[in-house]
Symmetry: C2
Subunit: 325 residues, 2 copies
Protein backbone atom coordinates (compact mmCIF):
# COMPACT_ATOMS: atom_id res chain seq x y z
CA UNK A 1 0.00 0.00 0.00
CA UNK A 2 1.07 3.51 -0.68
CA UNK A 3 0.25 4.79 2.76
CA UNK A 4 3.69 4.77 4.27
CA UNK A 5 4.53 8.23 5.44
CA UNK A 6 7.03 10.50 3.79
CA UNK A 7 10.74 10.31 4.42
CA UNK A 8 10.96 7.15 6.43
CA UNK A 9 14.58 7.31 7.30
CA UNK A 10 16.69 5.06 9.46
CA UNK A 11 16.82 6.51 12.94
CA UNK A 12 18.67 4.03 15.05
CA UNK A 13 22.25 4.25 16.16
CA UNK A 14 22.72 7.32 14.05
CA UNK A 15 23.72 9.79 16.68
CA UNK A 16 26.73 7.71 17.70
CA UNK A 17 27.90 7.23 14.12
CA UNK A 18 27.67 10.95 13.55
CA UNK A 19 29.94 11.56 16.49
CA UNK A 20 32.57 9.37 14.77
CA UNK A 21 32.19 10.49 11.20
CA UNK A 22 31.24 14.13 11.69
CA UNK A 23 30.00 15.82 8.54
CA UNK A 24 30.47 12.77 6.31
CA UNK A 25 27.39 11.33 7.89
CA UNK A 26 25.30 14.47 7.56
CA UNK A 27 23.03 13.49 4.66
CA UNK A 28 19.32 13.65 5.43
CA UNK A 29 18.91 9.87 5.43
CA UNK A 30 21.61 9.34 8.06
CA UNK A 31 20.39 12.14 10.27
CA UNK A 32 16.81 10.88 10.28
CA UNK A 33 13.69 12.90 9.73
CA UNK A 34 13.21 14.04 13.29
CA UNK A 35 16.64 15.64 13.49
CA UNK A 36 16.31 17.20 10.01
CA UNK A 37 13.01 18.78 10.99
CA UNK A 38 14.38 20.02 14.30
CA UNK A 39 17.29 21.71 12.56
CA UNK A 40 15.08 23.27 9.88
CA UNK A 41 12.64 24.51 12.51
CA UNK A 42 15.42 26.69 13.90
CA UNK A 43 15.07 28.82 10.74
CA UNK A 44 11.45 29.64 11.52
CA UNK A 45 10.79 33.19 12.61
CA UNK A 46 9.07 34.79 15.57
CA UNK A 47 6.58 37.63 15.50
CA UNK A 48 4.18 39.25 17.95
CA UNK A 49 1.25 38.22 15.74
CA UNK A 50 2.38 34.59 15.52
CA UNK A 51 0.60 32.95 18.46
CA UNK A 52 1.58 29.34 17.75
CA UNK A 53 4.37 28.41 15.34
CA UNK A 54 5.99 25.17 14.20
CA UNK A 55 5.03 22.12 16.27
CA UNK A 56 1.24 22.18 16.11
CA UNK A 57 -1.03 21.00 13.29
CA UNK A 58 -1.33 24.60 12.07
CA UNK A 59 0.40 27.85 12.87
CA UNK A 60 -1.96 30.37 14.52
CA UNK A 61 -1.67 34.04 13.56
CA UNK A 62 -3.53 37.23 14.39
CA UNK A 63 -3.85 40.31 12.20
CA UNK A 64 -3.88 43.69 13.92
CA UNK A 65 -7.46 44.64 14.80
CA UNK A 66 -8.88 41.32 13.62
CA UNK A 67 -11.82 39.73 15.45
CA UNK A 68 -10.67 36.21 14.50
CA UNK A 69 -7.43 34.22 14.45
CA UNK A 70 -6.14 32.61 11.27
CA UNK A 71 -4.54 29.16 11.03
CA UNK A 72 -2.03 28.08 8.34
CA UNK A 73 -0.88 24.67 7.21
CA UNK A 74 0.58 22.83 4.21
CA UNK A 75 0.94 19.19 3.15
CA UNK A 76 2.40 17.28 0.22
CA UNK A 77 0.65 14.34 -1.45
CA UNK A 78 3.01 12.48 -3.75
CA UNK A 79 2.66 9.54 -6.13
CA UNK A 80 4.48 6.47 -4.83
CA UNK A 81 4.35 7.74 -1.23
CA UNK A 82 0.75 8.77 -0.55
CA UNK A 83 -1.00 7.15 -3.51
CA UNK A 84 -0.21 4.77 -6.36
CA UNK A 85 -0.07 5.40 -10.09
CA UNK A 86 -3.39 3.62 -10.59
CA UNK A 87 -5.26 5.35 -7.74
CA UNK A 88 -8.50 6.91 -9.01
CA UNK A 89 -7.88 10.65 -9.59
CA UNK A 90 -10.83 11.81 -7.53
CA UNK A 91 -9.49 9.87 -4.53
CA UNK A 92 -6.05 11.50 -4.99
CA UNK A 93 -7.83 14.86 -4.85
CA UNK A 94 -9.78 13.85 -1.74
CA UNK A 95 -6.57 12.92 0.03
CA UNK A 96 -4.50 15.90 -1.12
CA UNK A 97 -6.97 18.49 0.13
CA UNK A 98 -8.23 16.25 2.93
CA UNK A 99 -4.87 16.20 4.70
CA UNK A 100 -4.91 19.98 4.92
CA UNK A 101 -8.60 20.11 5.86
CA UNK A 102 -7.86 17.62 8.64
CA UNK A 103 -5.12 19.91 10.00
CA UNK A 104 -7.56 22.84 9.93
CA UNK A 105 -10.22 20.69 11.62
CA UNK A 106 -7.81 19.74 14.39
CA UNK A 107 -7.57 23.43 15.38
CA UNK A 108 -11.39 23.64 15.55
CA UNK A 109 -11.23 26.08 12.64
CA UNK A 110 -13.41 26.80 9.61
CA UNK A 111 -11.55 26.21 6.30
CA UNK A 112 -10.90 29.39 4.33
CA UNK A 113 -8.39 29.82 1.44
CA UNK A 114 -6.52 27.07 -0.44
CA UNK A 115 -3.67 27.09 -3.00
CA UNK A 116 -2.19 24.09 -4.79
CA UNK A 117 1.22 23.67 -6.40
CA UNK A 118 1.00 20.80 -8.88
CA UNK A 119 3.95 18.86 -10.23
CA UNK A 120 2.98 16.61 -13.16
CA UNK A 121 4.66 14.78 -16.04
CA UNK A 122 3.81 16.21 -19.47
CA UNK A 123 2.59 12.73 -20.48
CA UNK A 124 -0.16 12.81 -17.84
CA UNK A 125 -3.68 12.70 -19.24
CA UNK A 126 -5.52 15.96 -18.64
CA UNK A 127 -8.55 13.98 -17.49
CA UNK A 128 -6.47 12.60 -14.60
CA UNK A 129 -5.53 16.09 -13.46
CA UNK A 130 -9.10 17.29 -13.83
CA UNK A 131 -10.26 14.31 -11.80
CA UNK A 132 -7.83 15.26 -9.02
CA UNK A 133 -9.15 18.83 -9.05
CA UNK A 134 -12.75 17.60 -9.07
CA UNK A 135 -11.95 15.58 -5.95
CA UNK A 136 -10.40 18.59 -4.22
CA UNK A 137 -13.26 20.84 -5.21
CA UNK A 138 -15.85 18.34 -3.98
CA UNK A 139 -14.38 18.30 -0.46
CA UNK A 140 -13.92 22.09 -0.40
CA UNK A 141 -17.49 22.73 -1.52
CA UNK A 142 -18.77 20.42 1.19
CA UNK A 143 -16.58 21.69 4.03
CA UNK A 144 -16.20 25.35 3.18
CA UNK A 145 -12.78 26.13 1.66
CA UNK A 146 -12.14 28.03 -1.57
CA UNK A 147 -9.37 27.28 -4.11
CA UNK A 148 -7.80 30.64 -5.04
CA UNK A 149 -4.49 29.92 -6.75
CA UNK A 150 -1.43 27.80 -7.27
CA UNK A 151 1.36 26.89 -9.61
CA UNK A 152 2.07 24.21 -12.24
CA UNK A 153 5.50 22.64 -12.84
CA UNK A 154 6.63 19.72 -14.96
CA UNK A 155 8.15 16.79 -13.06
CA UNK A 156 8.48 13.03 -12.93
CA UNK A 157 5.83 12.21 -10.34
CA UNK A 158 2.39 13.66 -9.84
CA UNK A 159 2.64 15.70 -6.62
CA UNK A 160 0.18 18.03 -4.95
CA UNK A 161 1.43 20.62 -2.50
CA UNK A 162 -1.61 21.98 -0.72
CA UNK A 163 -1.62 25.11 1.37
CA UNK A 164 -4.64 26.11 3.41
CA UNK A 165 -5.87 28.61 5.96
CA UNK A 166 -8.76 28.58 8.41
CA UNK A 167 -10.53 30.88 10.88
CA UNK A 168 -11.29 30.56 14.58
CA UNK A 169 -12.55 33.09 17.14
CA UNK A 170 -9.76 34.95 19.00
CA UNK A 171 -7.73 32.67 21.29
CA UNK A 172 -10.06 29.75 20.55
CA UNK A 173 -7.78 27.55 18.40
CA UNK A 174 -7.41 24.07 19.87
CA UNK A 175 -3.73 23.28 20.40
CA UNK A 176 -1.71 20.16 21.08
CA UNK A 177 -0.76 21.55 24.45
CA UNK A 178 -3.23 21.64 27.34
CA UNK A 179 -3.53 17.96 28.26
CA UNK A 180 -4.05 17.35 32.01
CA UNK A 181 -3.51 14.31 34.18
CA UNK A 182 -6.78 12.42 34.57
CA UNK A 183 -8.15 13.59 31.19
CA UNK A 184 -10.18 11.23 29.05
CA UNK A 185 -8.72 10.46 25.60
CA UNK A 186 -11.14 10.43 22.65
CA UNK A 187 -11.18 9.90 18.92
CA UNK A 188 -13.85 10.78 16.37
CA UNK A 189 -13.61 7.42 14.62
CA UNK A 190 -12.07 3.97 14.54
CA UNK A 191 -8.29 3.83 14.09
CA UNK A 192 -6.15 1.34 12.14
CA UNK A 193 -6.39 -0.32 8.76
CA UNK A 194 -6.67 2.93 6.78
CA UNK A 195 -4.49 1.36 4.08
CA UNK A 196 -7.55 -0.57 2.94
CA UNK A 197 -8.97 2.67 1.55
CA UNK A 198 -9.71 5.16 4.29
CA UNK A 199 -6.32 6.90 3.80
CA UNK A 200 -7.80 8.15 0.50
CA UNK A 201 -11.52 8.34 1.20
CA UNK A 202 -11.69 9.77 4.72
CA UNK A 203 -14.00 12.71 5.29
CA UNK A 204 -12.04 15.42 7.15
CA UNK A 205 -13.63 16.04 10.57
CA UNK A 206 -14.16 19.76 10.01
CA UNK A 207 -17.70 19.92 11.39
CA UNK A 208 -16.77 17.71 14.33
CA UNK A 209 -13.70 19.86 15.11
CA UNK A 210 -15.71 23.05 15.14
CA UNK A 211 -18.50 21.50 17.21
CA UNK A 212 -16.00 20.16 19.73
CA UNK A 213 -14.31 23.57 20.02
CA UNK A 214 -17.65 25.20 20.69
CA UNK A 215 -18.31 22.95 23.68
CA UNK A 216 -15.41 24.64 25.47
CA UNK A 217 -14.52 21.23 26.94
CA UNK A 218 -11.52 20.31 24.78
CA UNK A 219 -8.15 20.51 26.55
CA UNK A 220 -5.99 19.59 23.54
CA UNK A 221 -6.58 18.28 20.02
CA UNK A 222 -4.64 16.96 17.02
CA UNK A 223 -5.44 14.68 14.09
CA UNK A 224 -4.21 11.11 13.70
CA UNK A 225 -1.92 11.19 10.68
CA UNK A 226 1.23 9.46 11.95
CA UNK A 227 -0.65 6.90 14.04
CA UNK A 228 -2.25 7.01 17.50
CA UNK A 229 0.99 6.23 19.30
CA UNK A 230 2.94 9.05 17.65
CA UNK A 231 0.15 11.62 17.62
CA UNK A 232 -0.78 10.90 21.23
CA UNK A 233 2.92 11.34 22.07
CA UNK A 234 2.69 14.84 20.58
CA UNK A 235 -0.13 15.65 22.98
CA UNK A 236 1.74 14.18 25.95
CA UNK A 237 5.13 15.51 24.97
CA UNK A 238 5.39 18.95 26.43
CA UNK A 239 3.69 17.99 29.69
CA UNK A 240 5.75 14.80 30.25
CA UNK A 241 2.54 12.91 30.81
CA UNK A 242 1.64 9.30 30.06
CA UNK A 243 -1.48 7.52 28.89
CA UNK A 244 -3.33 4.31 29.55
CA UNK A 245 -5.33 3.04 26.57
CA UNK A 246 -7.99 0.36 26.62
CA UNK A 247 -6.87 -2.77 24.77
CA UNK A 248 -10.51 -3.77 24.52
CA UNK A 249 -11.48 -0.53 22.73
CA UNK A 250 -8.47 -0.54 20.38
CA UNK A 251 -9.14 -4.19 19.61
CA UNK A 252 -12.70 -3.33 18.59
CA UNK A 253 -11.44 -0.66 16.18
CA UNK A 254 -9.17 -3.08 14.27
CA UNK A 255 -6.23 -4.63 16.11
CA UNK A 256 -4.33 -2.94 18.92
CA UNK A 257 -1.19 -2.86 16.75
CA UNK A 258 -3.01 -1.39 13.75
CA UNK A 259 -4.87 1.18 15.84
CA UNK A 260 -1.62 2.35 17.41
CA UNK A 261 0.74 2.38 14.46
CA UNK A 262 -0.99 2.32 11.05
CA UNK A 263 -1.58 6.08 10.78
CA UNK A 264 -3.37 8.13 8.14
CA UNK A 265 -6.67 7.72 9.95
CA UNK A 266 -7.33 11.47 9.88
CA UNK A 267 -9.58 11.23 12.92
CA UNK A 268 -9.50 13.90 15.60
CA UNK A 269 -7.70 12.87 18.78
CA UNK A 270 -8.46 14.98 21.86
CA UNK A 271 -8.78 15.05 25.62
CA UNK A 272 -11.34 16.43 28.06
CA UNK A 273 -11.79 16.41 31.82
CA UNK A 274 -13.20 13.13 33.11
CA UNK A 275 -16.25 14.90 34.56
CA UNK A 276 -17.72 15.99 31.21
CA UNK A 277 -17.26 12.63 29.52
CA UNK A 278 -20.79 11.26 29.69
CA UNK A 279 -22.42 14.54 28.76
CA UNK A 280 -20.02 15.05 25.83
CA UNK A 281 -20.66 11.58 24.53
CA UNK A 282 -24.44 11.97 24.72
CA UNK A 283 -24.50 15.38 23.03
CA UNK A 284 -21.98 14.42 20.33
CA UNK A 285 -23.64 11.16 19.46
CA UNK A 286 -26.91 13.03 19.12
CA UNK A 287 -25.46 15.32 16.43
CA UNK A 288 -23.07 13.06 14.52
CA UNK A 289 -23.70 9.72 12.91
CA UNK A 290 -20.44 8.04 13.93
CA UNK A 291 -20.12 7.82 17.70
CA UNK A 292 -17.09 9.01 19.69
CA UNK A 293 -14.55 6.47 20.89
CA UNK A 294 -13.30 6.71 24.48
CA UNK A 295 -9.74 5.41 24.23
CA UNK A 296 -8.36 5.75 27.72
CA UNK A 297 -6.99 8.12 30.33
CA UNK A 298 -4.07 10.52 30.73
CA UNK A 299 -1.68 9.43 33.52
CA UNK A 300 1.56 10.77 34.94
CA UNK A 301 4.56 10.18 32.71
CA UNK A 302 6.10 7.24 34.58
CA UNK A 303 4.46 4.55 32.44
CA UNK A 304 4.74 6.15 29.00
CA UNK A 305 1.94 4.93 26.75
CA UNK A 306 0.41 1.73 28.09
CA UNK A 307 -2.31 -0.58 26.81
CA UNK A 308 -4.46 -2.17 29.49
CA UNK A 309 -5.96 -5.61 28.93
CA UNK A 310 -8.19 -7.61 31.25
CA UNK A 311 -5.23 -9.45 32.73
CA UNK A 312 -2.15 -7.31 32.04
CA UNK A 313 -0.85 -3.87 31.12
CA UNK A 314 1.76 -3.48 28.37
CA UNK A 315 4.04 -0.50 27.85
CA UNK A 316 4.25 0.36 24.15
CA UNK A 317 7.37 1.47 22.28
CA UNK A 318 7.51 3.92 19.37
CA UNK A 319 7.48 2.66 15.83
CA UNK A 320 6.01 5.73 14.14
CA UNK A 321 7.64 8.57 12.26
CA UNK A 322 6.97 12.29 12.20
CA UNK A 323 6.56 13.86 8.80
CA UNK A 324 5.53 17.38 9.70
CA UNK A 325 7.53 20.30 10.91
Amino acid sequence: MAIKLALELSRFGVRDMNMFFGRWMSDLGSLGEEQVIQRLASFAGAHGNLLTGIGDDCAVCRAAGSTTDQVFTSDATVEGIHFLEDTAPVRIGHKAVGRVLSDVASMGADPEWFLVNVVAPSTLDMQVLEGVYAGMRERLDLLGGVLIGGDLTEGERLSLHLFGTGRVPLDAALLRSGVQEGDLIWSTGALGGSGLGKHLDFMPRVREGKWLRETGWIHAMTDVSDGLFTDLSHLLGEQSLGACLSGEVLGKMSTVEAALFDGEDFELLFTTAEGVGDQLEALYNDVFEEPLWRLGTIRDGSGGIEVEYADETKRMVSRGVRHHF
Copy 2:
Protein backbone atom coordinates in the same frame (compact mmCIF):
# COMPACT_ATOMS: atom_id res chain seq x y z
CA MET B 1 21.11 27.89 -17.98
CA ALA B 2 18.46 26.54 -15.71
CA ILE B 3 16.22 29.54 -15.99
CA LYS B 4 13.74 28.26 -18.52
CA LEU B 5 10.31 28.40 -17.03
CA ALA B 6 8.32 25.44 -15.88
CA LEU B 7 6.32 23.23 -18.20
CA GLU B 8 7.42 24.55 -21.54
CA LEU B 9 5.08 22.60 -23.70
CA SER B 10 4.52 22.69 -27.41
CA ARG B 11 1.65 25.02 -28.15
CA PHE B 12 1.35 25.22 -31.89
CA GLY B 13 -1.15 23.43 -34.06
CA VAL B 14 -2.39 21.52 -31.08
CA ARG B 15 -6.02 22.56 -31.10
CA ASP B 16 -6.56 21.17 -34.60
CA MET B 17 -4.90 17.88 -33.77
CA ASN B 18 -7.06 17.53 -30.70
CA MET B 19 -10.13 17.89 -32.85
CA PHE B 20 -8.97 14.90 -34.86
CA PHE B 21 -7.70 12.66 -32.13
CA GLY B 22 -10.07 13.55 -29.33
CA ARG B 23 -9.03 12.23 -25.95
CA TRP B 24 -5.97 10.38 -27.22
CA MET B 25 -4.24 13.73 -27.54
CA SER B 26 -5.28 15.03 -24.17
CA ASP B 27 -1.99 14.63 -22.27
CA LEU B 28 -0.68 17.83 -20.69
CA GLY B 29 2.20 18.15 -23.15
CA SER B 30 -0.06 18.07 -26.19
CA LEU B 31 -2.57 20.48 -24.70
CA GLY B 32 0.05 23.04 -23.80
CA GLU B 33 0.46 24.88 -20.55
CA GLU B 34 -1.94 27.69 -21.28
CA GLN B 35 -4.86 25.39 -21.95
CA VAL B 36 -4.04 23.17 -18.96
CA ILE B 37 -4.03 26.19 -16.68
CA GLN B 38 -7.26 27.52 -18.15
CA ARG B 39 -9.00 24.23 -17.57
CA LEU B 40 -7.67 23.90 -14.01
CA ALA B 41 -8.68 27.48 -13.22
CA SER B 42 -12.30 26.46 -13.79
CA PHE B 43 -12.05 24.48 -10.53
CA ALA B 44 -11.25 27.60 -8.54
CA GLY B 45 -14.00 28.81 -6.25
CA ALA B 46 -15.79 32.11 -5.77
CA HIS B 47 -16.52 33.81 -2.47
CA GLY B 48 -17.72 37.23 -1.36
CA ASN B 49 -14.45 37.79 0.50
CA LEU B 50 -12.31 36.84 -2.51
CA LEU B 51 -11.75 40.19 -4.25
CA THR B 52 -9.30 39.00 -6.93
CA GLY B 53 -8.80 35.35 -7.78
CA ILE B 54 -6.70 33.41 -10.28
CA GLY B 55 -5.10 35.57 -12.98
CA ASP B 56 -3.20 38.15 -10.95
CA ASP B 57 0.17 37.79 -9.21
CA CYS B 58 -1.64 37.12 -5.94
CA ALA B 59 -5.22 36.43 -4.93
CA VAL B 60 -6.68 39.25 -2.79
CA CYS B 61 -8.96 38.33 0.12
CA ARG B 62 -10.73 40.20 2.88
CA ALA B 63 -11.67 38.89 6.32
CA ALA B 64 -14.93 40.10 7.85
CA GLY B 65 -14.26 43.26 9.86
CA SER B 66 -10.60 43.47 8.84
CA THR B 67 -8.96 46.85 8.28
CA THR B 68 -6.54 45.40 5.70
CA ASP B 69 -6.69 43.08 2.70
CA GLN B 70 -4.59 39.93 2.52
CA VAL B 71 -2.79 38.64 -0.60
CA PHE B 72 -1.90 34.97 -1.27
CA THR B 73 0.53 33.38 -3.69
CA SER B 74 2.64 30.25 -4.23
CA ASP B 75 5.58 29.26 -6.42
CA ALA B 76 7.67 26.16 -7.01
CA THR B 77 11.47 26.26 -7.34
CA VAL B 78 12.79 22.97 -8.69
CA GLU B 79 16.26 21.56 -9.39
CA GLY B 80 16.89 21.23 -13.11
CA ILE B 81 14.26 23.85 -13.95
CA HIS B 82 14.94 26.86 -11.76
CA PHE B 83 18.44 26.03 -10.53
CA LEU B 84 21.19 23.49 -11.15
CA GLU B 85 22.54 20.75 -8.91
CA ASP B 86 25.70 22.77 -8.25
CA THR B 87 23.94 26.08 -7.51
CA ALA B 88 25.05 27.49 -4.14
CA PRO B 89 22.37 26.61 -1.53
CA VAL B 90 21.97 30.16 -0.26
CA ARG B 91 21.17 31.32 -3.81
CA ILE B 92 18.56 28.56 -4.17
CA GLY B 93 16.97 29.90 -0.98
CA HIS B 94 17.10 33.47 -2.27
CA LYS B 95 15.28 32.43 -5.43
CA ALA B 96 12.72 30.14 -3.81
CA VAL B 97 11.47 32.76 -1.37
CA GLY B 98 12.28 35.65 -3.73
CA ARG B 99 9.79 34.50 -6.34
CA VAL B 100 7.00 34.67 -3.78
CA LEU B 101 8.25 37.94 -2.29
CA SER B 102 8.26 39.39 -5.81
CA ASP B 103 4.59 38.38 -6.27
CA VAL B 104 3.74 40.04 -2.95
CA ALA B 105 5.73 43.14 -3.96
CA SER B 106 3.84 43.39 -7.25
CA MET B 107 0.60 43.91 -5.28
CA GLY B 108 2.23 46.72 -3.29
CA ALA B 109 1.88 44.54 -0.18
CA ASP B 110 3.96 43.94 2.94
CA PRO B 111 5.12 40.30 3.24
CA GLU B 112 3.53 38.43 6.12
CA TRP B 113 3.45 34.62 6.64
CA PHE B 114 5.43 31.97 4.71
CA LEU B 115 5.31 28.16 4.57
CA VAL B 116 7.61 25.86 2.62
CA ASN B 117 7.04 22.30 1.42
CA VAL B 118 10.45 20.73 0.75
CA VAL B 119 11.05 17.69 -1.42
CA ALA B 120 14.60 16.35 -1.04
CA PRO B 121 16.53 13.13 -1.74
CA SER B 122 17.65 11.32 1.41
CA THR B 123 21.23 11.51 0.10
CA LEU B 124 21.20 15.32 0.22
CA ASP B 125 23.70 16.82 2.62
CA MET B 126 22.00 18.53 5.54
CA GLN B 127 24.30 21.50 5.09
CA VAL B 128 22.83 22.08 1.63
CA LEU B 129 19.29 22.19 3.02
CA GLU B 130 20.40 24.45 5.87
CA GLY B 131 22.05 26.72 3.32
CA VAL B 132 18.79 26.95 1.38
CA TYR B 133 16.92 27.84 4.57
CA ALA B 134 19.57 30.39 5.54
CA GLY B 135 19.04 32.04 2.14
CA MET B 136 15.28 32.13 2.60
CA ARG B 137 15.57 33.45 6.13
CA GLU B 138 18.00 36.17 5.05
CA ARG B 139 15.54 37.61 2.54
CA LEU B 140 12.59 37.30 4.92
CA ASP B 141 14.46 39.04 7.73
CA LEU B 142 15.36 41.87 5.39
CA LEU B 143 11.96 42.30 3.76
CA GLY B 144 9.60 41.41 6.57
CA GLY B 145 8.12 37.92 6.14
CA VAL B 146 8.07 35.17 8.77
CA LEU B 147 8.52 31.43 8.13
CA ILE B 148 5.85 29.63 10.16
CA GLY B 149 5.59 26.09 8.84
CA GLY B 150 5.84 23.57 6.06
CA ASP B 151 6.30 19.94 5.22
CA LEU B 152 9.18 17.60 4.29
CA THR B 153 8.91 14.75 1.75
CA GLU B 154 11.50 12.46 0.20
CA GLY B 155 11.88 12.75 -3.58
CA GLU B 156 14.36 12.62 -6.45
CA ARG B 157 14.91 16.33 -6.99
CA LEU B 158 15.32 19.13 -4.49
CA SER B 159 12.13 21.20 -4.80
CA LEU B 160 10.83 24.10 -2.75
CA HIS B 161 7.13 24.91 -2.79
CA LEU B 162 6.74 28.31 -1.19
CA PHE B 163 3.46 29.80 0.02
CA GLY B 164 3.27 33.39 1.13
CA THR B 165 0.81 36.02 2.24
CA GLY B 166 1.01 39.80 2.44
CA ARG B 167 -1.00 42.77 3.71
CA VAL B 168 -2.26 45.93 2.02
CA PRO B 169 -4.71 48.60 3.15
CA LEU B 170 -8.34 47.93 2.12
CA ASP B 171 -8.87 48.11 -1.66
CA ALA B 172 -5.28 49.25 -2.17
CA ALA B 173 -3.76 46.14 -3.79
CA LEU B 174 -2.20 46.94 -7.17
CA LEU B 175 -3.71 44.69 -9.83
CA ARG B 176 -2.81 43.74 -13.39
CA SER B 177 -5.97 45.44 -14.58
CA GLY B 178 -6.26 49.24 -14.71
CA VAL B 179 -3.94 50.13 -17.61
CA GLN B 180 -5.15 53.12 -19.67
CA GLU B 181 -4.31 54.28 -23.17
CA GLY B 182 -1.58 56.90 -23.04
CA ASP B 183 -0.04 55.47 -19.83
CA LEU B 184 3.71 55.42 -19.38
CA ILE B 185 5.27 51.96 -18.92
CA TRP B 186 7.96 51.62 -16.24
CA SER B 187 10.24 49.02 -14.71
CA THR B 188 12.20 49.12 -11.45
CA GLY B 189 15.37 47.75 -13.07
CA ALA B 190 17.10 46.61 -16.24
CA LEU B 191 15.57 43.59 -18.00
CA GLY B 192 17.26 40.74 -19.85
CA GLY B 193 20.25 38.53 -19.22
CA SER B 194 19.08 37.33 -15.81
CA GLY B 195 20.46 33.87 -16.62
CA LEU B 196 23.93 35.26 -15.87
CA GLY B 197 23.04 35.27 -12.18
CA LYS B 198 20.23 37.72 -11.44
CA HIS B 199 17.57 34.98 -11.67
CA LEU B 200 19.06 33.67 -8.39
CA ASP B 201 20.41 36.81 -6.74
CA PHE B 202 17.70 39.38 -7.42
CA MET B 203 16.46 41.41 -4.48
CA PRO B 204 12.63 41.32 -4.49
CA ARG B 205 11.26 44.84 -4.96
CA VAL B 206 9.15 44.82 -1.82
CA ARG B 207 10.08 48.30 -0.61
CA GLU B 208 9.71 49.73 -4.10
CA GLY B 209 6.29 48.10 -4.55
CA LYS B 210 5.00 49.51 -1.31
CA TRP B 211 6.43 52.97 -2.01
CA LEU B 212 4.88 52.97 -5.48
CA ARG B 213 1.49 51.96 -4.11
CA GLU B 214 1.64 54.77 -1.59
CA THR B 215 2.05 57.38 -4.36
CA GLY B 216 -1.46 56.56 -5.53
CA TRP B 217 -0.23 56.96 -9.11
CA ILE B 218 0.05 53.32 -10.20
CA HIS B 219 -2.65 52.18 -12.65
CA ALA B 220 -1.52 48.53 -12.87
CA MET B 221 1.45 46.49 -11.71
CA THR B 222 2.96 43.01 -12.12
CA ASP B 223 6.44 41.53 -11.83
CA VAL B 224 8.58 40.40 -14.75
CA SER B 225 8.91 36.65 -14.33
CA ASP B 226 7.96 35.29 -17.77
CA GLY B 227 9.66 38.13 -19.69
CA LEU B 228 8.63 41.70 -20.52
CA PHE B 229 6.68 40.67 -23.63
CA THR B 230 4.55 38.11 -21.79
CA ASP B 231 4.11 40.05 -18.57
CA LEU B 232 3.25 43.26 -20.42
CA SER B 233 0.71 41.22 -22.41
CA HIS B 234 -0.92 40.30 -19.09
CA LEU B 235 -1.32 44.00 -18.30
CA LEU B 236 -2.68 44.76 -21.76
CA GLY B 237 -4.79 41.64 -22.06
CA GLU B 238 -8.10 42.47 -20.51
CA GLN B 239 -8.21 45.98 -21.96
CA SER B 240 -7.25 44.92 -25.53
CA LEU B 241 -4.60 47.63 -25.50
CA GLY B 242 -1.22 47.77 -27.23
CA ALA B 243 2.18 49.17 -26.30
CA CYS B 244 5.05 50.96 -27.95
CA LEU B 245 8.41 50.29 -26.33
CA SER B 246 11.62 52.23 -26.89
CA GLY B 247 14.23 50.16 -28.73
CA GLU B 248 16.86 52.56 -27.44
CA VAL B 249 15.90 51.98 -23.80
CA LEU B 250 15.62 48.19 -24.13
CA GLY B 251 18.94 48.17 -25.98
CA LYS B 252 20.59 49.96 -23.08
CA MET B 253 19.26 47.35 -20.62
CA SER B 254 20.82 44.41 -22.48
CA THR B 255 19.56 43.60 -25.98
CA VAL B 256 16.01 44.23 -27.18
CA GLU B 257 15.50 40.48 -27.60
CA ALA B 258 16.85 39.64 -24.16
CA ALA B 259 14.90 42.45 -22.47
CA LEU B 260 11.67 41.22 -24.08
CA PHE B 261 11.99 37.47 -23.78
CA ASP B 262 14.58 36.28 -21.22
CA GLY B 263 12.34 36.50 -18.16
CA GLU B 264 13.08 35.90 -14.47
CA ASP B 265 14.09 39.54 -14.01
CA PHE B 266 11.78 39.92 -10.99
CA GLU B 267 11.52 43.65 -11.55
CA LEU B 268 8.22 45.46 -11.07
CA LEU B 269 6.47 46.43 -14.31
CA PHE B 270 3.79 49.13 -13.99
CA THR B 271 2.03 52.01 -15.68
CA THR B 272 1.08 55.54 -14.65
CA ALA B 273 -0.58 58.50 -16.34
CA GLU B 274 1.82 60.42 -18.57
CA GLY B 275 1.32 63.60 -16.53
CA VAL B 276 2.94 62.30 -13.32
CA GLY B 277 5.97 60.79 -15.06
CA ASP B 278 8.60 63.42 -14.33
CA GLN B 279 7.53 63.89 -10.73
CA LEU B 280 7.43 60.12 -10.10
CA GLU B 281 10.89 59.69 -11.57
CA ALA B 282 12.37 62.51 -9.49
CA LEU B 283 10.82 61.35 -6.22
CA TYR B 284 11.61 57.67 -6.79
CA ASN B 285 15.19 58.23 -7.80
CA ASP B 286 15.64 60.30 -4.67
CA VAL B 287 14.64 57.39 -2.45
CA PHE B 288 16.03 54.34 -4.27
CA GLU B 289 19.53 53.68 -5.50
CA GLU B 290 18.63 52.09 -8.83
CA PRO B 291 16.74 54.53 -11.05
CA LEU B 292 13.40 53.77 -12.72
CA TRP B 293 13.36 52.81 -16.40
CA ARG B 294 10.76 54.47 -18.66
CA LEU B 295 10.07 51.78 -21.25
CA GLY B 296 7.38 53.26 -23.50
CA THR B 297 3.72 54.09 -23.81
CA ILE B 298 0.38 52.28 -23.82
CA ARG B 299 -1.41 52.56 -27.19
CA ASP B 300 -4.67 51.24 -28.59
CA GLY B 301 -4.62 47.54 -29.41
CA SER B 302 -4.20 47.76 -33.17
CA GLY B 303 -0.40 47.44 -33.17
CA GLY B 304 0.04 44.82 -30.45
CA ILE B 305 3.41 45.24 -28.74
CA GLU B 306 5.78 47.29 -30.92
CA VAL B 307 9.40 48.34 -30.51
CA GLU B 308 10.25 51.76 -31.88
CA TYR B 309 13.74 52.43 -33.23
CA ALA B 310 15.09 55.69 -34.69
CA ASP B 311 14.19 54.63 -38.22
CA GLU B 312 11.52 51.95 -37.92
CA THR B 313 8.86 50.36 -35.73
CA LYS B 314 8.67 46.56 -35.39
CA ARG B 315 5.69 44.56 -34.20
CA MET B 316 6.85 41.80 -31.85
CA VAL B 317 5.45 38.28 -31.68
CA SER B 318 5.09 36.13 -28.55
CA ARG B 319 7.76 33.64 -27.60
CA GLY B 320 7.09 33.49 -23.90
CA VAL B 321 5.25 30.99 -21.75
CA ARG B 322 2.95 31.38 -18.80
CA HIS B 323 3.74 29.27 -15.77
CA HIS B 324 1.24 30.57 -13.24
CA PHE B 325 -2.41 29.91 -12.87
